[in-house]
C-alpha cells in the first residue's frame, strides 16, 4: 500500500465517505488511487476555495469532519480562505495537499509554496510529512485532533514522492485527547441562585460540543432569559418564550437591553467577541460573569470572568439542569420584564401589504421563514442579507443556520450549501446570498448542476455592496466609495447558462409565489430578488461603540454623522 492508498484506507476506517477536492500535479497519486476506490465520494468543485468552504458547510450541517484536498502551490493557496474560515469558527476539518517531491522542496520548484509556513496562523495544527512510514500515525492523530476539544482544521502537506512510496505496515496508534471531567459547579449554582436578573448567553460552542439537546433542556428547565451570538442562533429554539434573539452590533434592542440590565451573565460556548459585546467598557456593566467553555484560552481574554469553568459542555449542562430541576430559579419579575422587552424591542419588520411595493430584505426573509420547511438549512453569505437572516429567520436548531461568523467570508454561502446538501441529500438547503457575495464563488453553479443538487439559491440584489454602503452612509458622511455593482450580470440568464432554472421578482406580491415555486421545484433553482439599494440593516451599533448606543431607523443618517463629527 502506498501513501495515497493509505490515506483512502484511513478515510474508510473513520467513515469519511465524502471529500471535496480539485486535482493537480503533486496530488495526482491520491487522485490515481481514487480511481479504484468506490467507497469515497469525491466532489469536484470548480475552485479550491469552494472545496474548503464546501467541506466547512458539510461539517457544520452534519457535525462530522469536513475533508478537502488540493494540489501544491496555487491549489493550496486557494484553500487558505476556506481553511481560515473554518479556523475562525472552530470547524473540524482535515486538509490534504500534495507538495513537490521531497528533494525539490526549497528549490523554488514548479508549483512549490511553503504551505506549512504560510498556514501556521489558520490551523489548529499542521504537518509536513517527511517519511512515508509516519503517514499512518499522522493521519490518525490529525483526524482525532481536528475533532477533539475545541475543533479546528488540521492540514497535512505531503510530498508527491511520499504519496507514491510504500508505507510500512505497523500497528496504528490510538491518539487520546481526554476531555476534562465535569468540574465542581457549586459556585456557579450559588451565583445563579443569588442573582435577581440572570441572563443566558450562548454561542457556537454549543453545537461544536454536540451539546444542542443538553443546552435546550437547560434553557427550558432554567427558564432563563436568553440571548445568542450569531453562531448561537437556534440554540434556545424558536419556541422558547424567553429567547430574546441575537445580541450585538445588529442585535435586537431587547437582547442588548437585557445584557445591559442583567446582574449575572451565564456565558456558555461563546467567546465574547467584539461584534457581540460592542465597546467592552459598556458591556453588561452591572453583571458578574460565569464563563463556561471547552477552551480555557477564551477565559479573561476580553471580559474578566468572575467564575471560569472549563469542561465538557454536555456534562456541565446536564449537571446544571439536574440541579435546577430539583430547585427552580425564582426570577419571575425578570422573566416578565424580558418578555415585555422582547415584545416591544424584538426584531420587527412590517409586512408591506401594498402589492406593488418594492421588496425589502426583512419582509422577504420573514416570508421565507414562514414558508420553508422547519428543518431547512439556510447557508448565508456575508453582508446585509446575512444580518437580515440572523434577525428575521426563525431557526429551531443551530445546525440549520450556516454562517461565516468569525472570518466573515463573502462567497461562503454557495459552497457551504453544496456541502450541506451532501451532508443530507434529502434536506431542503437554501443559499441566501447578496449580489456581491454571489459573484465570489458563482462558478460553483457548475458543481450544483454536475451533481444535480436541489440547492435553492436566493440572490437579494441591491446592486451594491450594501453593508459597506450602509456604513459609508452612516459613519463616513455618505461618501460612497467603490460599492457600486449596478453593472451586475443578468443573474437569471447566468443561472440558465448553467442549466439551472431561475425566476426574477421585484414586487411584494411576488414574494410568496416566488418562494413557493423554488421550494416546490424538484431540483436546483435560483430566485433573483431585486431590492432597494437604500435598505439598511437596523438596528446598528457603530463599530467600537457601546451596544447601548444602538441606532435605529428613526435616528438614521443625520444623527449618526453628527455623532461621527463630534
Amino acid at each position: 500500500m502506498n501513501g495515497a492508498q493509505h490515506i483512502l484506507e484511513a478515510f474508510h476506517r473513520h467513515n469519511i465517505s465524502t471529500v471535496f477536492g480539485y486535482p493537480g500535479g503533486c496530488i495526482m497519486p491520491l487522485y490515481d488511487a481514487l480511481v479504484d476506490d468506490v467507497g469515497v465520494e469525491h466532489v469536484l468543485c470548480r475552485h479550491e476555495q469552494a472545496c474548503a468552504l464546501a467541506a466547512d458547510g458539510f461539517a457544520r450541517a452534519s457535525g462530522k469532519l469536513g475533508v478537502c484536498i488540493a494540489t501544491s502551490g496555487p491549489g493550496a493557496t486557494n484553500l487558505i480562505t476556506g481553511v481560515a474560515n473554518a479556523h475562525r469558527d472552530s470547524i473540524p476539518m482535515l486538509v490534504i495537499t500534495g507538495q513537490v517531491p521531497s528533494g525539490l522542496i526549497g528549490t523554488d520548484a514548479f508549483q512549490e509554496t511553503d504551505v506549512l509556513g504560510m498556514t501556521l496562523g489558520i490551523v489548529k495544527h499542521s504537518y509536513l510529512v517527511d517519511d512515508a512510514d509516519t503517514l499512518p500515525a499522522i493521519m490518525e492523530e490529525a483526524i482525532a485532533l481536528a475533532q477533539s476539544g475545541r475543533p479546528g482544521p488540521v492540514w497535512i502537506d505531503i510530498p508527491k514522492d511520499l504519496l507514491l512510496s510504500q508505507v510500512a505496515e505497523a500497528p496504528l496508534p490510538q491518539p487520546e485527547f481526554r476531555e476534562p471531567a465535569c468540574p465542581d459547579l457549586t459556585d456557579a449554582l450559588a451565583m445563579l441562585r443569588s442573582a435577581r436578573k440572570p441572563l443566558l448567553y450562548s454561542g457556537g460552542g454549543i453545537s461544536l460540543a454536540h451539546a444542542e439537546d443538553r443546552f435546550r433542556a437547560f434553557a427550558e428547565t432554567s427558564a432563563l432569559p436568553a440571548v445568542v451570538t450569531l453562531k448561537g442562533i437556534g440554540n434556545p429554539g424558536k419556541h422558547n418564550p424567553y429567547n430574546l434573539g441575537m445580541l450585538g452590533m445588529h442585535g435586537s434592542r431587547a437582547a442588548n437591553r437585557a445584557v445591559d440590565e442583567c446582574d449575572l451573565l451565564l456565558v456558555i460556548g461563546a467567546r465574547l467577541d467584539d461584534r457581540a459585546t460592542g465597546k467592552l467598557d459598556g458591556f453588561a456593566p452591572n453583571a458578574k460573569t460565569i464563563h463556561i467553555d471547552a477552551d480555557a484560552a477564551e477565559f479573561n481574554k476580553l471580559r474578566p470572568a468572575d467564575l471560569a469553568i472549563r469542561g465538557d459542555l454536555n456534562a456541565i449542562l446536564a449537571e446544571l439542569t439536574g440541579a435546577l430541576t430539583s430547585k427552580p430559579l425564582a426570577i419571575r419579575n425578570w422573566q416578565q420584564q424580558c418578555r415585555t422587552w422582547h415584545t416591544t424591542g424584538g426584531f420587527q419588520a412590517a409586512d408591506n401589504e401594498e402589492a406593488l411595493a418594492p421588496i425589502t430584505g426583512p419582509a422577504f426573509i420573514r416570508q421565507l421563514s414562514r414558508i420553508a420547511p422547519d428543518d431547512t438549512i439556510v447557508a448565508c453569505d456575508v453582508g446585509q442579507h446575512q444580518m437580515w437572516v440572523a434577525q428575521h429567520y426563525e431557526f429551531d436548531h443551530p445546525r440549520h443556520h450556516l454562517t461565516s461568523g468569525g472570518l466573515g467570508t463573502m462567497g461562503f454561502g454557495l459552497p457551504a450549501a453544496i456541502g450541506a446538501q451532501f451532508a443530507d441529500r434529502n434536506r431542503m438547503v437554501i443559499n441566501v446570498t447578496g449580489d456581491g457575495s454571489f459573484m465570489m464563488n458563482a462558478q460553483e453553479l457548475a458543481t450544483i448542476r454536475r451533481y444535480n443538487l436541489p440547492v435553492k439559491l436566493i440572490v437579494l440584489d441591491n446592486q451594491c455592496l450594501g453593508m459597506v454602503r450602509q456604513q459609508q452612509e452612516l459613519f463616513y458622511n455618505n461618501r460612497e466609495s467603490h460599492i457600486n455593482l449596478d453593472d451586475n450580470p443578468d443573474f437569471v440568464a447566468m443561472a440558465r447558462a448553467f442549466d439551472i432554472p431561475a425566476l426574477h421578482i421585484e414586487r411584494t406580491d411576488q414574494i410568496r409565489r416566488g418562494i413557493e415555486t423554488i421550494i416546490a421545484y424538484n431540483g436546483p433553482m435560483l430566485l433573483h430578488v431585486a431590492i432597494s439599494r437604500q435598505d439598511n440593516v437596523w438596528p446598528i451599533v457603530k463599530p467600537g461603540a457601546s451596544n447601548r448606543e444602538m441606532i435605529d431607523e428613526t435616528r438614521r443618517t443625520s444623527t449618526a454623522n453628527k455623532e461621527q463629527v463630534a
Binding site: L120, G121, Y127, D295, N300, K301
Partner: protein, 92 residues
C-alpha cells in the same frame, strides 16, 4: 520637539518545552507575535526529542493570555512562566 515619555514595558521570561516537528519554532514565534508580544531574547536547546526554549518577552498584554494560547499548541508539552524580569523602558 515634544519630549517623549518613558513608558515601562513589562518583561517576562517564559520556558517552553515542545516536540521537534517541522516549523515548531515558527509556530511558537507566530503565536507570540500575534498575541501582542515581542521576543527580546530566545535560547533553544535540543533535549532528546524535545526542544527547550527560553524566551524573554516584552508586551503590555496579560502574559497569562499568551501562556494559555501557547499551551493549546499541539506540539507544546509545557509552558512555565519565570520570575518577572526587570521592566525595560521604551519611548512612547
Amino acid at each position: 520637539m515634544t519630549p517623549q515619555t518613558e513608558i515601562p514595558t513589562p518583561r517576562y521570561t517564559l520556558n517552553c518545552r515542545m516536540s521537534q516537528e517541522a516549523a515548531a519554532l515558527e509556530r511558537l514565534c507566530q503565536v507570540v507575535r500575534i498575541r501582542g508580544f515581542r521576543i527580546a531574547r530566545m535560547a533553544v536547546e535540543t533535549a532528546g526529542e524535545h526542544l527547550d526554549i527560553a524566551l524573554t518577552l516584552e508586551g503590555t498584554r496579560p502574559i497569562a493570555m499568551l501562556q494559555s494560547q501557547l499551551e493549546k499548541l499541539h506540539t507544546v508539552a509545557e509552558v512555565a512562566l519565570g520570575a518577572p524580569a526587570v521592566a525595560r523602558s521604551r519611548s512612547a
